[in-house]
Structure formats: C-alpha cells, structure tokens
Amino acid sequence: MATESVTRPARTPGARRPRRWTELLLVLAAVGLAVFGYVEVGVDIDGKAPPDAAQYGAALGVLALVAHGAVRWRARWADPLLLPIAVLLNGIGLVVIYRLDRNTPQHEAAPTQLLWSTLGVGLFIAVLFLLRDHRRLQRYAYVGAFVALVLLVLPVFFPPVYGSRIWIQLGPLSFQPGEFAKVLLAVFFAAYLAAHRDALALTGRRVLWFRLPLGRVLGPVLLIWAAFVGVLVLETDLGTSLLFFGLFVVMLYVATARTGWIVIGLLLSAVAAVGVGWLSPHVHGRVTDWLHPLASIEAGQGANQIAQSLFAFAWGGQLGTGLGLGHSALIGFATKSDFILATIGEELGLTGLLAVFLLYAVLVSRGFRTGIALRDPFGRLLAIGLAALVAIQVFVVAGGVLALIPLTGMTLPFIAQGGSSVVTNWIIVALLVRMSDLARRPDPQEEA
C-alpha cells in the first residue's frame, strides 16, 4: 500500500496538454445552454424570446470569457472541466431564478444574482492572481479558523429568518457567513491534519478491532468541532452543522485512514441527531415531515412544503413541463433558494435533474482527482475537502427537498439564490483550479 504512486493521472501522456481550447469550447457551450434557457422561459410563458435574453446572455458570456482568460493566463494547466461546469451550473441557476421571478414580479432576484455571480467571478480571478501557490494558505489556517468562528457567531446578533439565525442583514444586503466559513474551515482542517496526521493515525489504543485515538490528540479536534456544532445548533442551522460534521469526518478519515474516526463520527452524529431532534421542536418537525411527508394532507391540513416539493418533482416526470410551465410557486416560500431543485425537477424533468446531478458528480470527482494527483498533503486534503464539501452540500439540500433525508435549510451550490453561496462556490472552484494547475503541470525536466 505504501507505493501506489506509479499510476498517477498527471503522468499519463494523454493528460499532458493544457487543454485550454477544450475549456473554451465547453465554456461557450455552457453559455449557449444558459441563453437557450432564457429564451425557452420567454417562449414558454409569453410565446416570444424575452427582450433581456441578449443582455443576460452577453453578461454571462463576458463573465465566462474573462474567467477563462484568467485561467489561460494564470493557471494554464488547470483541469479544463472545472470552469465550464461552474459556468453552466451558475447559468442554470440564473435561468431558473429568472424563470421564478416571473411568479414574483415585485421581487426580482435574477439581477441581484447576476451581480453576485459577477462578484464571484471577480473573486475567482482574484484568487488565481493573488494565490500563486495554495500552500501559502497553510500559514493562515488558525487565523482562518478564528475568523470562521467569528463569522458563525455573528448572526446570533441578528434576527432569525425562517427560524434560523444564519443571516446577517446590512441594509438591503443579506448574507450567510456560514457559507464563507466553510472554506476557511476546510483550509484549517487540511492544514491541521496535514501537520498532525501521523500523531492522529499512529497513537491510540485498540478497543475491539478499532484503534481509538489518544485523548491528547482527539481533544483539540473535538473542541473545535463542538464549538462549531454548538454555534450552529444555537442558530438552529442544521444543514450547515451536518455539512461541517460530514466534512470533518471525511477529512479525518482521508488523512489518517483510521476507520475508528468514522465510528466515532457516526456515534457523535447519532448522539447529536437524537439530542437535537429531542430538544428542538423546529428540528423535530423537520424529521416528522421527512418520515411522513403526506401526513398533513391526511390530517386535513393541506400539503406542507415537502409534500409540495414532491408534487413538483412528480409532475415533472421524466421529461419535465418545460421552463416556465410548471407550478413550483405552490411550494410557497424559498422556491428560489432551498427549493430551487424542485423547479428544475418539475420543469426539466428527471432528465434535467440527472444532468444537474451529473454535473456535480463530475465537478466533485475532478476535485478528488486533483487531490489525489497533488503531492503535498495539505493540498491533497484541501482539494479533497473542498470537493467533499460540494458533494455533501448537494446531498444535504437535494436529499432534503427529495425527502431522502430530513429537510435542512441550505443552498444548492451555484444554482440557488444567495450571494454568499455563489461567491463562496466560485472561490472553491478557484482553489480547485489553482491546485489542479499544479497537479497537472508536467515536471520541468519532462516539459523540456
């Protein structure tokens, strides 16, 4: 097991081209798809292409091309799939939000979302230019963790929205600091685990067939975890705490290869789940709704949000109604954010939904690939952590609206309405692009 480096993707001859033209082609295709989506919304609802389709298309196209140019200039060897997938997911999100705006003409969210996407792409470019080597992030791990904690605590001082204290309201702007915190946390975990993985992996005593870590090592980790989860439970933001916890367990396992961590993780999550479910009526209700999504109908109280969400998915069937022709407005609130996937399911059908899942799967697997291809433990853990972050978040939010797991308020990466989310995901992709550039770059002597 100690010598597995022989088959590393970056060393296969086929992968040695930069593939920037591939990326450009895919980026253009992604923009084209989004423009097609805009037009479809207009044609389906009004019978003609919407007048602002050209503007939206041009804006998205410019953003995508500028981002592509930045990759070309600053990360020539980056994975050519990362940027096109980000553009396409962001584009799909803009189209679906634009479509949902038609139900709420007085609350248009698409222009704001486009603005946030622009900021996101700006940060994407900034990361590529300012961060020439991801390993520099290691130095700021602890500072980052502290900032993350502060970000997470801040919303406690702001009024709750939909039962959760995860928002900061500043005038017309509102954002979820938890979104930014997750990147900082992934950086911190990667740095901490890269530095201490030997101690974490090798020490400890055997209990049954598991080797449990020493309290000395486990302590600080548990402390940090408890701090985060505690804050999140206080804010009744179950989704984010589930996300952080999942991230924590995955990264611990990847760093140490100790199944003992998984056992501890599962035990802790079981305790947390039962405890929170017991104590919080908010969470208890979510669990009940998940177990019996149609119970409120049988009780004569009409359909709850989960039932409405399932109705939307089912109505879409295999091919969907077409953009603009569904009735996801029946879900009530949060149709553009937490429940945006239901609109995709209803109007693009199972086909469209699976396509979106596939995009996430490719994005995540590219992240893992980057992590495996890298050589420094910090980079490897960070890439894997960021990819896992996306995967878990998609699972938590999509599983919630599909009634696979209890519903927790979270945003679907790149697609859902929410500035902090879009910006954060662009940063995640920027970091993956930066790291994949290093991972795929040929050794100097080979290049010559």
């Binding site: 399932l310 699976l354 799967a361 433990p377 995967a391």
Partner: protein, 503 residues
C-alpha cells in the same frame, strides 16, 4: 518544484493506506451520495408519479384542467362558453342560456364537478381525450395540450324553447324525439337553474349551490331523464300494442269481450273508470283508448299475459338500467313478477309501473316509426376545436317492437284520442296528431297531486312519412284546480310538435 513532504505522499504512516487510497474511497463515498440522490429522484419522478400527481392536495391537475378554455356544447349555436378568471384556475364555464338548456348540458363547476353531457364528455371538452391528439407520442413528449373539443348535440333550439316555454312555471319535464332516428330534439325540466351560477369558486357560486341543494323543488333534478313517474293512462299505448301484437285484439273497432264491471282476478275489487261512458260491456279497443277505459285496458293486459306485456314494455326501454343517451336515463320500471290483479293495474300505468318522460317519448316514437324503436341519442357528433370530426353518431335501432300493421292500428287509436277523445287540446290544424293522455294518481291512498301526462307524435296532414316528432310531457304537482293530462300536458306537447312542424 518544492515538495514539502514527499515521503507522505505515496503511502500513509506505518503501512496504513495513503491519501491516494483513502481519497479514492472518500470520493467513491461522495459519488454514492449523488447516486442516492439520482435513485431517489427516479423513485419520486417515475415510480411515485401517478400517486403524487393524483394526491388530493396537489393542485396541478386542477390547474392544468382549467388552463385553457373548455370545449363547447353546441345546438345550432354554442350553448356554452369559457371566460378567463384571472385566478389560478384560469378559465371557468359560461352558459349562453343556462336555464334553458340545463337539462341538456348539466353543469361544469370548478367546485362541484361535471354532470350530464359536461361530465360524459369531460375529457373531450378539456382536451385530454386521446382522440384529439395529433400524434400521441409526440404530444406526450412535448406535453402539448390539445384545445378542448366540441360536442354537437341533437337538440333543436326552437323545440327546446317551445318545451321550456310550455312548461313555464309548472314543475315538469318534456322529452321530444325524432322517431326515425332517435335524435333527441328537446329535453326540458322545470324548475330549471343556471349552471353558470355555480361554475366558479366564488362565494356567490357557493351560496347558489347551497340554495339549489336546499330547494324542495329540486331545480337541479333532470326530470326528463333522471326521474320516473307512474305513467298512468299513457301506458295504455304499450298495453294496446302488446294486445295487438299478441293477437288478443285483431280489430280495433270490434268489441274486445272485456266484462263490466271487471273484478280483478283473485280480488273482489272492480277496476274503476274515470268516465261513465266506459262503464259498459262491448267496448272496442278504439273506444277504450279514446275514452281511456281502465276496465277494458286492465282486462286486456291480463289477457295478453305477463310475459308478453313485459316484453313489449322492454321494447320501449322499460327495465333498462343502462339507457345511455349518452347521459344515462333512470331505469323505467315494469314489474316482471306479478299476480293477475297487479298486472291489471300495471297495464293501466299504475301499481309499480313508472317511467321517465324519455321512455314514454320512445313509446310514442315507436308507434310513429312503424314499431322501430330507435336508440335515443342526445349527441350528433364530436369534433375537434377546429371543427374536424372526431366521431359521428349514427341512428341505432333499439328494438323492433312490432310490425307496421300493428303500428298503423296503434296510430289510428292515438289519432282518435286526439280527434274524438281526451287529447283534443293537442290538435294542430293542418297536421295529423296521435296521442294519449294520462292522469296518474300517486302517493299514499292516491292523495298526491296527480301527474298530468301526454305522449304524442305529429306529421303534416296527408303525409305518409314517419312523423318528424314524438313527445312526452309530464306536469307534476300542478297548482291547477283540474288536473288532467289532456288539460295540462297536451297543450305543451302541441306547442313542441308545432315547433317541429314549423321548421
């Protein structure tokens, strides 16, 4: 290139799997998460689709149903329309003259469902009938909704109006049929209601519905199709037909041999007559019909026998529980197991004998059309929104009740009723009219207000063609002081037949 920890990259510490291995495993785990989502999405969107789509709390089916204008019911001109509501249920039904045609159309309500023609052809009218689809597979893929089709009825607006005006404020019903084809020309029921007033979801609609439901006069009851009444003496046409067809009577002018008084078999009760002229022996069938003699016709029914009486009744739709016009008519009844005295009473339209106006119109139509009883049809054809034909209805023989010879005798009997007997009010100048009156007692000890009946057919004088119209009229619970079929129902039948002859 700088590598900070090259020794750590390949394998984990002390022989444990390295990050390449654990990373792949974690990656596999993350892929499994997404696969789980795909599986769940497939479950919801494919396998649970039907169940969720039809959940009572799911408004989508209803929204889709009212998304486009509903197809129309047509009788010469459209009887119905659609108007945009501006609400979530985008369109609602309108009726051009709701109360006039309510017995034909039924109602289409967003709250209370669809009845009668609106109900039977709901799929066609909403556009979901597969016969409307251009290319079913392509439509399924694109989810293209077809515009609603139209139902062209057999109703003649002039005849319908004559029937409704004739009934006026009285409670009753009219069914008019074209004997040669079975086409229903008019279907009237009073008191009527406006189906347009209950089409929407507003409070006014709901109040109207509650008021209609609570109304003791049952305005929403379709008395022409869905209500059975004892037919009284009008049933004597059936008895006469059975007696003639069975050869019990061979000459309508000769004495029948009926005794007077006629004491019903197995009883000590004589069958009484309303007219003293009937109280004698030696009356012919023609006398008995013209004067409407119970004693003669009751005796004839018993002489003809239960089996032949039952068979003749069935020829006109009695005991048929599935008489679909296509709106299903109520089952008219003629008992199949009776003793002789019950048969005698049944033969004069009493005892358990009960009929819808439609069935009694079929009796008149059978006499008019040489014994060919045609299936009564309310619909002429179904079309797509563009008018192209989906289905054309053809005349269908219901039963050959008797031959032309019996029919001719029966028509003579009925003409005599109008010319010389109780049906004088139905006489039409320049036309040959045959009919039969009926005044049916009902209720406990016959205390209820009698039902005034009249059934008839008419054709231009001198014509030998099949009469163009047969009609049955019933007036129930009239406030009139003297209630007889000839007095109350015959004038209505006359007006209806006149409207056909005037075309």
């Amino acid at each position: 290139m700088r590598l900070t920890r090259p020794e750590g990259t390949n394998g984990g510490p002390q022989g444990l799997p390295g990050i390449s291995t654990t990373g792949r495993r974690a990656g596999t785990f993350c892929m499994l998460l997404i696969v789980a989502l795909a599986v769940q999405a497939t479950r919801v969107q494919v396998f649970q689709k039907q169940e969720l789509d039809h959940n009572s709390a799911n408004q989508r089916a209803v929204i889709q149903r009212y998304a486009q204008p509903r197809g129309n019911l047509i009788a010469g001109q459209p009887l119905t329309g659609s108007k945009a509501t501006g609400g979530r249920l985008a369109h609602q039904r309108t009726y051009t003259d709701g109360p006039l045609y309510a017995a034909v159309t039924g109602y289409s309500s967003q709250l209370y469902g669809n009845t009668q023609l609106e109900g039977v052809y709901d799929d066609l009218l909403t556009g979901t009938d597969p016969r409307l689809a251009g290319w079913a597979v392509w439509d399924a893929i694109t989810r293209q909704q077809q515009p609603g089709g139209d139902v062209v009825t057999t109703i003649d607006p002039a005849v319908q109006r004559a029937a409704m005006q004739g009934l006026g404020s009285q409670k009753g019903a009219v069914a008019a049929i074209e004997p040669a084809t079975g086409r229903i020309l008019a279907l009237a029921s009073t008191p009527s209601y406006d189906p347009g007033a209950i089409a929407g979801t507003g409070t006014a609609d709901q109040d109207t519905w509650k008021r209609l439901q609570a109304d003791p006069d049952q305005p929403m009851l379709n008395r022409a199709l869905r209500q059975i009444y004892p037919p009284g003496s009008t049933f004597k046409v059936v008895t006469a037909a059975a007696a003639l067809a069975a050869g019990v009577v061979t000459d309508i002018e000769s004495p029948t041999g009926a005794p007077y008084p006629y004491v019903m078999p197995g009883t000590t009760t004589p069958l009484t007559n309303d007219t003293s002229a009937c109280n004698q022996e030696g009356l012919s069938l023609d006398d008995a019909m013209t004067l409407s003699c119970n004693s003669v016709m009751g005796w004839l029914g018993v002489q003809t026998g239960l089996d032949r009486m039952t068979a003749m009744a069935k020829n006109f739709g009695f005991n048929d529980a599935k008489l679909d016009t296509p709106v299903r008519a109520a089952r008219s009844n003629f008992d199949t197991t009776m003793n002789a005295s019950q048969l005698a009473l049944s033969s004069i339209g009493q005892y358990d004998t009960a009929a819808t106006p439609l069935t009694m119109a079929m009796v008149a139509a059978g006499a008019a059309a040489d014994g060919q009883v045609m299936y009564p049809q309310l619909v002429d054809r179904l079309t797509k929104a563009d008018g192209s034909q989906v289905r054309l209805m053809h005349p269908v023989l219901y039963r050959q009740a008797f031959g032309p010879g019996v029919a001719q005798q029966l028509r003579r009997l009925m003409v005599d009723v109008v010319q010389n007997g109780t049906g004088g009010n139905a006489r039409i100048p320049g036309a040959e009219v045959g009919g039969k009156t009926g005044t049916a007692q009902h209720g406990v000890d016959n205390t209820g207000t009698p039902y005034a009946w009249f059934i008839a057919w008419a054709r231009p004088a001198g014509s030998t063609a099949t009469p163009p119209v047969a009609v049955a009229v019933v007036v129930a619970d009239s406030q009139a002081s003297d209630i007889t079929g000839g007095g109350l129902a015959a004038p209505i039948a006359k007006a209806v037949m006149q409207s056909v002859l005037d075309r």
